[in-house]
Symmetry: C2
Subunit: 405 residues, 2 copies
C-alpha cells in the first residue's frame, strides 16, 4: 500500500500541534513529600503568614525596653514549641530558645554569647547587638498570606516545597501523571529472555521507553511487542485505547516499505493524523495524531532515533498533559570545539548527540562518539556547510538537565 | 553540657571523609528497564557482537556479484525476523526488509527506490549506490564482543541501556539503593495535620528530605519527628540503627545552646564523630560520623541549609555507597551578572543560592531572590570583598542537573 503523505513540518510546528492537541489531565491530591517535580492543579497560595509568629533566631534572651535598672529581670523561659503568649514589662527579660515565640513588647533578642547572667538578672555585654529585629524572624517576613507560592503550569521545586510546608500544606492537588502505553513492532524482535539468534534482535526500545517514561514523570500503563502483521497492530491499538492510556507510542513499522503498517492501522482505528513527517533527521518517518482524546506517536525503529524524538516531542506531550507553561526542550548556544561534518547533506536539518561542558564561563560542545552517553543534541542546519570548531551552535538539553535552567 | 569541638574542616575534606567512611553496598539484580541512573555492581560487558548478524538497513534487494546478465534473478525474500541463513550465487538477488539478515556472499544492498523490478528480475538504476557496505549494518560494527558497555562506578545512561539491550541483557546487577532514615528534632514542630499555632511550626524538613532522598536515588527507610528531649533522641537513634538504615540524618538540635542535644546523643550511642563543623556557612554546625557501619549526618534546623548540605554532602554519601567514581557536585565557572554582597564577612566562605543561565556561549549566574527556585549555589570566598558584576565565580550544580555534565 502506497501511503498518502499528510504533510511534512518543522520541529517547533510539531510541538505546537502536540500542545494544542493535549488536554490537561485531572487533579489528584498527594502528600507534600511526594510533590517534587509535579505540576499543581491550580495556583498554590500561602494560606497564612510565614513565619506565623515572631520567632527567635538564637538561643538567648528577649528583653523589653530598659526599666530603671541597667539589668533586666529574667521572668520566664520560652522553649521552642512553647505556645504561651507572654508579654514583657519594661526592665523584664525572658530566656528564649531558637524557634521560640518572641513575647509581645520585646525590644530585641540578644544571643546568649552576648549576655552576662547574674542570678535572676541578665545584661547585654558591651557591643551586643542593638538592632531590634536582627535576631527575630518576624511574622510574615518570609511570605505574606495570599502570596502565590507555585503558579499553575510551574513545577514544584524544593525551595517551594519548604515554603508550602511552612504555611501548613500537608498535601497538594497536582495534575495526575500521564499514562503511557507503547508497543514495539518488528517480527525480528525477540521478547522474553533467550539467546540471540541470527536474524532476531532484542527490543532495546522496550527497555529504553520504560526508563524515559519514568524519568520524564509519566507512568507506563501497558507495553507489548507485536509482529509486523496488520491484524496484530489493529488489535493492540484497540486494546491500548480501551485501557485508558493518555499517550500511545509505537516503534518501528514506519519506514517506506512493504511492512510500513503503523500509519495504515492507525487510520483504520479512526485515528486523525496531524503530521507524518518532520523536516528533520531523524524524524522523517514519524507520526503524530489523535485517537479520540489519546495522543498517538508513531516512532521509527532505531533506538537512538526513539531516544531523540522522545526528548524533542513525547516529553512535550507529557508536560502539556500536565498543563506545564513551558513544554519545549531548553535550548542554548554553545561553542563547537571540534569540526563537525553535516552528514547526508540532503538539505534536511539534523540533530546529533553531543557533549556539553563548561570552561571559564563558556559553554562548549562537541559531537558525542558512538559509545558516549550524550547530554545534549546539536542542531545542524542541513545547509551542507561544515560546522567548524569555534562556531556558535544551537544545542538542545536532554533528559534530566532540561527544565532546570 | 559544653561540647568538645572535634574539628572544623573544609568542604572537600568533608567529602573525602564521607567517601572513605562509606562501604559500597551489595549488588541486586533488576530488570534492564528499571536500570536508568543506577550503578552496576561490576563492569557490564558485551557478551556478543552488536549487531549479532549482518543486517539490512533498508527495504530493498541484496544482490550478489554480477552473473552473465546485467539483471539479477530474485530467488527469495528475507523478512525481518527471518532466521534462515541464505547464500547467493553470482547473478542472484533476494528481496530484503529493513532489519533482515543479509545472505552470505551478498555484494551490496540496494534500497528499493534505487531498483527497477521486471518480473522475477531486478536491476539497480543508474546512479544506485555502488558502495558495498553502505546499507548493511555489519556484525559487530557497533560493539565487539567483550567491550565494556558500562564500567563499575559509572551511572547507566539511556545510550548504554540501548547497547545492553542490543547484546541481550534482560536484567543487570546493580548496587542496591541506599536506605536513609531521618528524624527532625524540635518541640516546636507540628506533626500530622492541623492548624498552625503561634509557637509551633510545620516540619518542612520532613517533606524536603523525602523528596531529596528520592530525587537522589535513595530510599526512605524510616522517619520521625522528636521533641528536644535527650531520651527521645537516644531512643530514635537506637531504633533507626537497628532498622537497617545505611544513612541516618537528623535536623535541628545542632546549634550551640541549651537544647543542642544531637551530638551528645550520638556520642552516647557510641557514634564516632569525624567532624562537627565546616569552615563554611551554612555548615558551621553540622556533624558527620559513623555509628557502626551507618553514616550519620547531624544537620542544622533551617530547611534551606538542609537543602544545601544535602546537595553538598549527603548526596556524596548516597553516591559513594553505590560505588560511584565521582561523588562531588559538578562545578563550573560562570560570569556574575549582578553585584553580590558577601554577607556576614565573618571570614567564612559561603554558598549562596543562584540562578545559572546561558547566553551566546557564555555561562551566566546571579544570586537567587528569596522565592526563586535556584538551580545552583554560588561560592563566595568569604574574604570580605564584594563580588562585582562581570567577575568569574565558582558555581556548584544542584539536584537533577549535576552528574549530567
Amino acid at each position: 500500500m502506497k501511503k498518502e503523505k499528510c504533510k511534512s513540518i518543522e520541529l517547533q510546528e510539531a510541538r505546537d500541534l502536540i500542545i494544542r492537541a493535549a488536554p490537561v489531565l485531572d487533579g489528584v491530591e498527594i502528600g507534600l513529600a511526594e510533590s517534587l517535580s509535579r505540576f499543581p492543579a491550580s495556583d498554590l497560595l500561602a494560606g497564612e503568614d510565614l513565619p506565623g509568629y515572631d520567632q527567635s533566631l538564637r538561643d538567648g534572651y528577649a528583653i523589653a525596653e530598659p526599666g530603671k535598672d541597667p539589668a533586666f529581670v529574667i521572668v520566664d523561659e520560652v522553649a521552642a514549641g512553647d505556645t504561651r503568649k507572654l508579654s514583657l514589662e519594661p526592665g523584664q527579660a525572658v530566656r528564649i530558645m531558637t524557634g521560640g515565640l518572641v513575647p509581645a513588647r520585646t525590644d530585641r533578642v540578644i544571643p546568649e554569647e552576648q549576655c552576662r547572667v547574674f542570678g535572676s538578672n541578665v545584661c547585654p555585654v558591651e557591643g551586643a547587638s542593638a538592632s531590634g529585629k536582627r535576631f527575630i524572624h518576624g511574622r510574615g517576613s518570609e511570605l505574606a498570606r495570599g502570596t502565590v507560592i507555585v503558579a499553575k503550569g510551574r513545577e514544584i521545586r524544593a525551595e517551594q516545597q519548604i515554603l508550602l510546608a511552612g504555611v501548613g500544606y500537608e498535601s497538594v492537588a497536582v495534575v495526575r501523571r500521564p499514562r503511557v502505553s507503547f508497543f514495539c513492532t518488528g517480527s525480528e524482535l525477540l521478547s522474553g529472555s533467550g539467546q540471540s539468534r541470527a536474524g532476531k534482535k532484542f527490543s532495546a526500545n522496550s527497555h529504553l521507553l520504560h526508563g524515559l517514561i519514568a524519568l520524564n514523570g509519566a507512568e507506563v500503563a501497558n507495553e507489548q511487542t507485536v509482529k509486523d502483521v496488520p491484524e496484530e497492530v489493529d488489535q493492540i491499538l484497540k486494546a491500548m485505547q480501551q485501557s485508558g492510556a493518555d499517550i500511545i507510542i509505537s516503534t518501528g513499522g514506519m519506514g517506506p516499505g512493504k511492512f510500513d503498517l503503523v500509519e495504515a492501522a492507525f487510520q483504520r482505528a479512526g485515528g486523525r493524523v496531524l503530521y507524518d513527517s518532520l523536516n528533520m533527521r531523524p524524524g522523517k518517518s514519524t507520526l503524530f495524531g489523535t485517537l479520540g482524546s489519546v495522543l498517538f506517536f508513531g516512532m521509527p525503529g532505531p533506538p537512538p532515533a526513539v531516544h531523540l524524538l522522545f526528548n524533542e516531542l513525547i516529553r512535550t506531550a507529557i508536560l502539556a498533559l500536565q498543563g506545564a507553561a513551558s513544554c519545549s526542550p531548553q535550548e542554548l548556544n554553545a561553542i563547537l570545539t571540534e569540526d563537525m561534518a553535516q552528514f547526508g547533506s540532503g538539505g534536511l536539518p539534523r540533530l546529533k548527540s553531543g557533549l556539553l561542558s563548561f570552561d571559564g564561563g563558556r559553554c562548549l560542545v562537541r559531537a558525542a562518539a558512538r559509545m558516549e552517553a550524550a547530554n545534549c543534541y546539536i542542531y545542524c542546519p542541513g545547509n551542507g556547510q561544515s560546522l567548524t570548531s569555534g562556531t556558535l551552535v544551537r544545542v538542545h538539553m536532554t533528559g534530566s538537565t532540561q527544565g532546570c535552567f
